[in-house]
Subunit: 424 residues, 4 copies
């Protein structure tokens, strides 16, 4: 094999190719970007290092960048999410330097990140800062001189938590190159949090419990993007939805959207299904569990497993806890059985398939265009954390509409002039 | 073991008991009926023979009847749906004479039905007429004399097709005892077709394809109970829904409910997901496949696998067909890939878990009360097919509301009198 | 003027013609029936006597029948609903014998009904039985001989109450000719009760009070056709909807549709807007008023003004009642102001414009086709009350779809055969 | 009468008091602010000059400020919207210096603004900048010295257009004191644009035409706050909704919300009802009118009457235009009748009652708290245009929830700390 690599079994490539083809067929936005990249070659001579979940959708992103002329190297951002067949196909069919084995230990994981870092990428792609941190740990001075020489253009970071970390680095003056934070892109927040998560959270709950949502009381904690997605879909499935919120503005919006709003304590006694989506901790606590009816289902849709106070639940139950179905554990509290899904971890990833490929299509389209933007602005950017430029959001939305065959109006010169004068 | 039986492995009883307990916890209506039966013993001295899918929910029904004093014997109505652990628990924990082994051959299957028939049940419970037919095939004369002696009270039949068959038998004068046809019960049509199927069909589609419903064009063929359930839920998930119908009354209702209505030919070119729910054959045919966009998903929600013309699809594709995911086969037609789910069979059973236990709770509550009704009307009923008495529907609805903790208004004497005079 | 008549002022004809033209433009189904009638002349030689509200929509119906060759005479079914300009145009422009003056007294009203009766119609059209009763009161013997001679074909009756009265007459053996009861037609119940009333009831409430429905708690009493229309629209406007019902089947359906269901007593304390749609009396009573919050709005959507116990409300308030806006009276109960709309009469008629012309189009299309059906079955029908034949419902639905430019599928011979064998 | 004033007829005060009481009863947020103001007297010694529509809701605002100790003078911001009875009651019952006569001419209008300006207010309240401009026109130097002496604290402006004008003044260095722009407040945008307008636009269309929305195709141009309100409510009334947009991000959001999205040209041929809500001009133009079906309804929900190209419509129709109902003019284009509502002006104001009092309650609560904020920040603010401080939005939302009896969760110290570390 022509490229450097470390994957479980190159013979799995055929299986991986099939899964990548399935994903590619569902990612028309990225495909259309890839087509343009293939002609314009914006990444000619550019080395990209990526540290991402090694999945079929990621493979489509990597292939898109490679089509644009990039020389890409990939390692896993999480040892458990690697699909070995996809890794194999990347090596065999796409000749991408790939370093990822499902279930790899800490040392191997670190060596894989190092393998990518040592290729001295012009652009880094991260999902949790591991690659950026590795580069910085090996000496900021060298990085600064590479940046000065326009040999290191910048990076992208996928997670909110990672972006917060990078901002702290920037504030402390130790960030050496510009990074685009992707998680705040409008298209992405929309597709991912509101529509993707709204569907997949309910999907996870139904798969785990096969409960009927019609006529159920579903309590949604938090009315941010994710919570309102879950609330809208639960109502759409025939549930009667209660929203809890600490932010009065969001609470009022939920009221005006026709939901019942109350405290979690009050909702606890009335709900059949509870979904937390606040981004905060201790949203459902001991005093709430004590109120819940027999058979209540507890699911978390927030990033971290801190929203449902599982420790308090376990203490209330004492020894009276037992697994009852895959992903479902019953805790007996005051004679009533409460069903905790997936130990309080993200229910849409743990009990369902995570985001549909159509959603990843939008996220990764933002990713691809952000890389192109870094190339275009080579040498112009300070070492800081940048939001996604509005033009990229608009471009992704336009491409998505085009791939759906949807045409929208164009503003006439007269309308543009009018907006300039009177526009909101 | 005290009872006659033929099950795969009695040692599986513990596992089965767990699953039965899970189901029982989700079937409060049947539980409350069981409680009353346990006190009133309406089936004291009554032998019941049942031929049903051997599932946890069925076990709860059987236990409910047994609690009422019945001596129940059970065989499988389908060799493939038997859960061996449930069968084991029925024998070991409930001492129910059970004859069912998953995957049993035709001869064993027949011997199991015979085993139940030979116990000379006072009441038969059927899901496809197998037990009724077996009894009739062994000599109607004996049956008639048992009926005359009030030793054979009647039966129930679960399927629409079975009821049609029994009506033909009644018309031909060969039906020897009264049978209650359960499938037309209002509560059941409501819970099962509209709400249960609406949810589980979408669940099946999402599990098989992980497609995003928000923004998709979903075409629902048929606007009966099942179709309107699917349409409502698809809209609730953010899809833009098109309905096709041959019946102008239903088509108009769909229009007034805010759906787009058009012919399947017109819809074919616009849909991303197609769901058939008409109860008819050839609903999507060759000329329609030819119009569909790349990636279109084809799913059937009707009882039989005749709604999507799979043969025509295969012919159009020639050899260009291949499995792409579990339960998903891609047919290439005119360069576009069409995705057929589960070979055109019922997608909610084939790709998801079928109806939630809460739905089975209502179906089996009707079942239990119909058996009680047969006992109450011992000796009064002609050998004919009866609909479910309205009082049973009302009783099931009341119990369901009560188990949800919902109180409804009661009519005062003045209101009852008013309705008698002016009422609709 | 060529025809016999008694109207307020023939000079109003021009204004009336304008309003009739507006209505006709919104009644395409009736227009298409009129076109066919104009060619086929099904009423050639037929005299039709009609006793209906004299409105623009009625004029379109009358013109449709006249186009079919009928000689029509019209009187008012209610002295208060007569539009004098419409009556004038019917006389002047359509040469229809019209007897109606807005606000006419009892004696004039009776003489007008008599004027129509004395023309010995072949077919009677009623909205409350006045014309039928008048004919019967002048001697059933003559009617019977006219029926025997096929000189009197039958009648139609529009109201449910009228149909109940006629059924009592038939049971007592005094009904002399066949009457079609229109109110149960499926198309009509759908368009009128569910969709028409759903919209117009909310319209009436908003016009009377200009209250914001988004975020309001709307309590809907009754989940029949009308109640579920109101509930669906209230939810559609952003309200959080509570349903009260005495019928457990309907209550359960409301639950499964995602509404909260409880007793009126429980709902009273929580609602901001109350709408009664039960067809029963005393739905909201003294004990309920005592629970209601300040500013609660009370509206009735049922046919009679008996659903809200206005007398009890007045007693609770003592003298503390006063009009606060047109159609709104405030009753102070326990220091809280309750707002009764339109004295508890039908709020969509009293505070809004009643049903849209598109809804009347469907109702009157059924009316016109029922008259044609009476002609076709001349001499074949017993003196009894008939429901609307299913073929008429289907025909109206088909015409409505056609006028909307909507095409639906047609069943192939193979599909028809399949349905005959397996069909539900 | 104790105060200086110029109103039409003080004898109308009783009627005005009744209307003010009705409004006050529907404005609980403002009432609760008034209660606090009554105790804390934040405006003791403060003169407030207001130039607003003289309506019952405005009177409640004025009374609220007066309760806080302010000495308020009021003139009309539009001669046509003045309610003379309300003006009378303000003078007689509230002793507010009021200068407003319905239909007053330009000179009187100007003298009224001058009357308020000459009282040298500490705070100005504007709805279109008239008062601010008057003050500035009489010499910025004096204003600057008053500001320097903390004798002139600042102002508020209600309209978007006004705020744009003030920003231009600030940029040109001629704005002499700080002004809070109210129109961007989140609570207000929510209550007013999305929920208030959503309801009142449909209300206006139904009042003007009595058309049935169920089953209609409603085309909504623009998917901003206002457009999405209209779209959601139209769908809620059973319409099939098409959205047109020029902004791809918003277009994509509409798609993901389940609406059909297309160009206006494509939508023109399919719609029954058209609503413009873009804030731009020429949204529906000649080429679109040419496509529309007979009976199409054209309504504008945008602030200015430029969205529907009425001139082009008139030219297409030539002389073939005529009023057909109050507020409805029919233009005949190519043999088809198009119905323009209210000459293309804001349909919810022109054909309905504008925003519900509950919506004005929120807008004016922001107004009252912004005045208090100016007092609190006396001497601290630059002469610039300020957005509404987030704390005011939160406070209004909290008060609104409290007046609805809704409690929300409070964050614990642990949760606040968590958010500080990880929070979005």
């Amino acid at each position: 094999l022509a490229v450097d690599h470390d994957v479980a079994d190159p013979a799995l490539a055929t299986a991986g190719a099939g899964r990548i083809a399935w994903a590619a067929a569902r990612m028309p936005v990225l495909r259309s970007i890839g087509q343009r990249f293939g002609e314009a070659k914006p990444f000619a001579g550019i080395r990209i290092g990526a540290c991402l979940h090694v999945t079929p959708e990621t493979a489509v992103l990597i292939a898109t960048l490679a089509a644009g002329g990039a020389e890409v190297a990939l390692c896993a951002s999480n040892p458990l999410s690697t699909k070995d067949d996809v890794a194999a196909s990347l090596v065999v069919d796409h000749e991408v330097a790939t370093f990822a084995r499902r279930g790899e230990g800490v040392a191997v994981y670190a060596s894989h990140v190092q393998a990518v870092a040592s290729r001295e990428p012009h652009i880094t792609i991260d999902d949790g800062c591991d690659l950026i941190e590795r580069l910085h740990s090996s000496g900021p001075e060298r990085l600064r001189s590479r940046v000065a020489a326009a040999d290191l253009l910048g990076g992208t970071e996928d997670t909110t938590t990672g972006a917060a970390h990078l901002r702290a680095m920037a504030a402390a003056g130790v960030l050496t190159y510009p990074v685009v934070s992707l998680s705040e892109a409008t298209t992405r927040a929309m597709a991912d949090n509101r529509y993707g998560t709204g569907q997949s959270v309910l999907d996870g709950i139904v798969r785990a419990t096969n409960t009927l949502l019609a006529g159920a009381k579903v309590v949604v904690a938090g009315y941010g993007n994710c919570g309102r997605g879950v609330a809208a879909r639960a109502r759409g499935m025939g549930a009667s939805v209660i929203v809890t919120e600490a932010n009065p503005l969001r609470a009022l919006e939920a009221v005006l959207d026709g939901y019942e709003v109350m405290t979690m304590r009050a909702a606890a006694a009335r709900g059949n299904v509870f979904v937390t989506a606040t981004g905060n901790r201790d949203v459902i606590t001991a005093a709430d569990f004590a109120e819940m009816p027999d058979g209540a289902i507890l699911a978390n849709a927030g990033h971290f497993d801190v929203e449902i106070d599982v420790k308090a639940l376990a203490e209330l139950a004492g020894g009276r806890r037992r697994p009852v179905r895959p992903g479902v554990e019953e805790f007996t509290v005051g004679g009533r059985g409460l069903l905790l899904l997936c130990e309080g971890r993200l229910v849409n990833l743990a009990a369902a398939d995570g985001n549909p490929a159509q959603v990843m299509d939008i996220s990764f389209a933002v990713q691809a265009l952000a890389c192109e933007w870094l190339v275009r602005h080579r040498g112009e950017l300070e070492p800081a954390v940048y939001g996604v430029p509005a033009e990229i959001d608009g471009q992704v939305a336009s491409l998505k509409l085009a791939t759906m065959g949807i045409e929208v109006d164009e503003l006439s010169p007269g309308q543009l002039a009018y907006l300039k004068t009177f526009g909101g």
